[in-house]
Amino acid sequence: MNQVDFGETPFVREKMRSELLAKGVFMLMALTMVLPLLTIVGYLIVKAWPILSLDFLLQNPTSRMREGGIWAPLLGTIYLVCISLLVAAPVGVLAAVYLNEYAKDNWFTRIVNLAVVNLAGVPSIVHALFGLGAFVLFAGIGRSILAASLTLAIMTLPVIIASTKEALASVPMAFREACWNVGASRWQTIRAVVLPNSISGILTGLILQVSRAAGETAPIMFTGAVFFKALRDGGILGYSLFDQCMALSMHLFTISTQVPDVPEALPYATAVVLLGLVLAVNGISIAFRVFLRARKKW
């Protein structure tokens, strides 16, 4: 019997080598993203270690920000995030419902979609200018948690719209048609079948909104966040809607650039807390997505 020998000719070897080389080069490029992230996070944690503790989270800053904890900024961030979520969520979800369920495929819809993309691309400082001009000055709300939250809400709207649209689009058309054919109206179909089966995607979008809102600095700098604001009392109700507030992101900015003689670990610790908060929220959203993918109903 003849045996055909597909042994290694120089040609084959050359191909394998070039294949490996290609893989290696591109893998290196991918790693240039991953490695910096890991080393930087590691470095930050190491530098922050001396101060990180539960007390740090729960105490207020003292001695003109040179000592103490970050309770007031943390509380402020929580207020801002909650109120902006309360405003952005219904508008964003309903906007996505309109775009995916009602909008016809014409030039007007294309403009609306373009507007969403553009809204997402507006620089954060321009959002700040808008908030200042529209809410603080024109509407007369003044620099306050309310003005800052509204500014954040508009800024993070595209995130909710995009995630919700994707979630709605993943519901098969056949379900909607089955409902229409038994006499359910468009809205009834959306409310009874489409929305309940998009909840996971919608929640993912909301969680993403939260992480974005928590991290932003520029939009709140001139619309309501300040360097220092004494809390009304020690507990959760430390701010009112029309107060200005401190915020974690703003705090990091000010103690690393505006305040002299800050002990080295303090800004690192603030950075670690903010980063940890944001990454944790994102991590929850990712885990949530994976968990729900396994429980699909169709």
Binding site: K104, D105, A174, F175, E177, A178, C179, W180, N181, V182, G183, A184, S185, Q188, A192, V193, N197, K297, W298
Partner: protein, 257 residues
Amino acid sequence: MRMAREPVKKIEISHLTVSYGSRPVLRDLSLDVNRGEIFGIIGPAQSGKTTLLKTLNRTIDLIPGAAVRGSVRIDGAEVSTMKNVNALRRRIGMVFPLPVGLPMSIYNNVAFAPRMSGIQQRARLDEIVERSLRQAALWDEVKDRIYSLGTRLSGGQQQRLTIARALSHEPEILCLDEFSIAIDPITTMRIEDVLRELKSRMTIVLVTNLVQQARRLADRTAFILNGNLVEADRTDVIFSDNPGRRETYDFVHGLFG
């Protein structure tokens, strides 16, 4: 000797022309369906049979770019000018080729339409669900797991679930569009028995690619080719050696498909 009664017309279609954009799908179609009969519609694929059904319950409205001209009357009332489209759709039951179980329990699948039309009392819903599932010959198989997910049923069960859903709002007209394509022959036979039984209660329009199915079930049959009505007559005439048109004979005897 029985006096032959003049058949009452349930559906009257007159000069119906439907186009998607510039492409005509139904051309000047006219036919009548009598009350209480099984009316079969046969013809090769892409002949416009599904479009005809969509025009009946006005789901054609949901297709962008669809233009409808001509008249479709149910019990004498023009369909295109009816104000309450959802009420119209509840008078007509629709079953499509691919079985669709809604992502909810079997109970809720069948209770969906009654709920949407305002029925809320549990007792009434229970009664409607059981009746519809029995009519669709599915009750015995699912009665012990009626709260389990509708999407987890087999294809044949899901198709019967679709029929149960179509029956849940007590339609006067039941339309089936190639219902047996995606299911096994045994379930198909069971559903055909169901249809024979339902005939006494409603008018049935049966669109099918399987000419033998029309022969088995339909009282009268229409042959539609490329959007045109070739011939509509009693089934025994259509399937005889002398139907009205040559094309009918050729199609029925498999000379083209």
